[in-house]
């Protein structure tokens, strides 16, 4: 029955084992990250163990590249039940905050924002899907791409926490590899190429607001977007776009404040849940190894065996239910975002995605109204 109970773990283990076999790398140990690139097994890369350290710079690489960390998606298989899906939703908002902290602390990048959806607000978007998460194991698919449509790389990050004393900052280290890889890609480009990408992002953003005006600046024929020509730097239309963009940054800042509060409120409980999961699964591993060696039948240790088994289960469920309760409470809160824009107070309600969509629609309307008034 133990095998049956641990199917999700086994699935993850199989994945990790495959990686180890292909790459002849070490078996995953405490707090390690494994990465794969692409989908084909042949492209599997060697596991990175121990944890890759974060490359840090004295200041942003020039020109400074802004980055969008998109709120994580959830693989439908990762939730299993509605209740667990609630925890996944909590993770999908907690973990991007940790991801962003890593990118910011590397000091390689310009402004790093957590955003509800990918957009041309920044030249580069990082999309992440939670594949599996059970407290001890976490598997993520990370895709980094830019606004031209070019995919920089895809990584599968797998983290196993074997030591209950590890905290969220240990988990956070799995994102080091992403920042390091991004730095490699960014440095492999000439300064002119980097500047061009940033210009394209500005035009793509502007095109979303005024397609008739800005689409002609872009060449859609090539596999990736290229710039045909650039508007003059004192183009008044571009200045209006920049003003709208600044308003969109307002939303991201407001959302950012919410994520910080979320991390403060839910972070400790999430951490406790992970610790409990690690303790219990370590106990289970130990139990199974002892049971496999046990040649004599039950004896004096029968009560100890049952008590340990039941107590481990009870303790795990208590922690799990506390996290579920918190996740559900946080989900139902769905805080409105209150923004002050040009003297007006605007309150956005609904899900984060809905609030963001409403805000962007509003900005688009303002832009069109302004444009109409000027024409």
């Amino acid at each position: 029955m133990a095998d049956e109970l641990r199917m999700p773990l086994i699935t993850l283990w199989l994945l990790l084992s495959c990686i180890s076999m292909v790459a002849c790398g070490p078996v995953l140990t405490r707090s390690t990250t494994t990465e794969i690139e692409g989908e084909a097994a042949a492209e599997l890369a060697a596991p990175t163990a121990p944890q890759e350290s974060l490359s840090r710079a004295g200041g942003p690489l020039r020109p400074a590249l802004d980055i969008n960390v998109v709120v994580f998606d959830i693989d439908p298989e990762a939730g299993e039940t509605a209740q667990y899906m609630t925890v996944r939703k909590l993770e999908s908002r907690l973990l991007p905050g940790l991801f962003r902290e890593v990118l910011v602390s590397s000091d390689h990048w310009g402004v790093v924002r957590v955003v509800p959806t990918a957009s041309a607000l920044a030249p580069v978007n990082i999309r992440t899907v939670i594949l599996a998460s059970d407290g001890r194991d976490l598997a993520l698919d990370v895709t980094v791409s830019d606004v031209t449509g070019e995919e920089w790389f895809r990584l599968r990050l797998a983290y196993r926490q074997d030591d209950p004393s590890d905290n969220l900052s240990a988990l956070q280290q799995i994102f080091h590899v992403v920042s390091n890889r991004m730095r490699d890609v960014w440095l492999s480009r000439s300064v002119a190429e980097r500047s061009r990408l940033i210009s394209i992002a500005d035009i793509v953003y502007a095109r979303d607001l005024a397609p008739d005006f800005f689409a002609s600046y872009l060449d859609f024929e090539s596999p990736v977007l290229t710039l045909k020509r650039a508007p003059s730097s004192d183009d008044p239309m571009l200045a209006r776009v920049q003003r709208i963009k600044n308003q969109e940054y307002l939303f991201c800042d407001a959302m950012d404040e919410q994520l910080v509060i979320l991390l403060e409120r839910a972070g400790p409980t999430y951490d406790l849940w992970r610790k409990a999961a690690v303790e219990q699964t370590n106990w289970l591993d130990h139990y199974e190894s002892v049971a496999a060696l046990r040649s004599v039948g039950p004896g004096d240790g029968e009560f100890s065996r049952m008590q340990a088994s039941y107590s481990a289960y009870r303790s795990y469920r208590i922690q799990e239910q506390a996290l579920l309760e918190l996740a559900e409470a946080l989900e139902s809160e769905s805080q409105p975002v209150v923004l002050r824009s040009e003297g007006a107070v605007i309150t956005l309600e609904g899900t984060l995605e809905a609030q963001y969509a409403t805000w962007r629609d509003l900005l688009r309307e303002i832009f069109l109204l302004e444009q109409g008034a000027l024409q």
Binding site: R6, E80, T81, L272, P298, E302, R305, S309
Partner: protein, 212 residues
Amino acid sequence: MLHGCGTHDEQPEMSTIPPPDLSGHWEVDYARSDSVQNQVNSTFREVQREIRRRNAAAEKGVSYQGPAIGNIDTLFALAKMAELVVEPRLLEIDQDRQWIRIERENSFALVCSLEATRNEANLLGREICWWDGQQWHFVIQLPDGLNVAHRFTRSDDGNSLAQRTRLSDPATGHDFVVTQIFGRYDPTERGYSCTETLSRGRVCTTERVGAE
């Protein structure tokens, strides 16, 4: 109370009959509940009788078809486990048309949906629950074979709740069953109230419940 060769793996099927309302606060009525110690004594006597019957049959040279005794140590371990499992003396039940949630003092909550039989595995065990039209069933299967099954039934007048807990293990032929009867109570009349907190565990206050 003993159920030799207990087969408790009846096919769980969610009944469409609406369950009675179990909502509220419940506490153990010791006068009407089984004492685990009495159950242990009873189990011990039953096992002794079983052994005597076997010995008598063997002396007479006839085959004996009685229930298997299994491992005695396991049986007594089950009895001790029963004390641990039925330890919660207070229950708080929330129920609506879709869900029932039985919060148990110092233990995890038993949660079930009326939509379908719940059969869920987590890292350390499996939980199955269903409503059979008369009773709520909650079964916890642990990897080492220990099986804990709770059944909840409400009295017709709505003032009593019976929790029947059966523990079984493949190493013994006997299950261990304890029945507890709960009566309703009003937590606001106790003079104190307690809540479970993440950081400080169980915290009690003598402040009037519901006071501003």
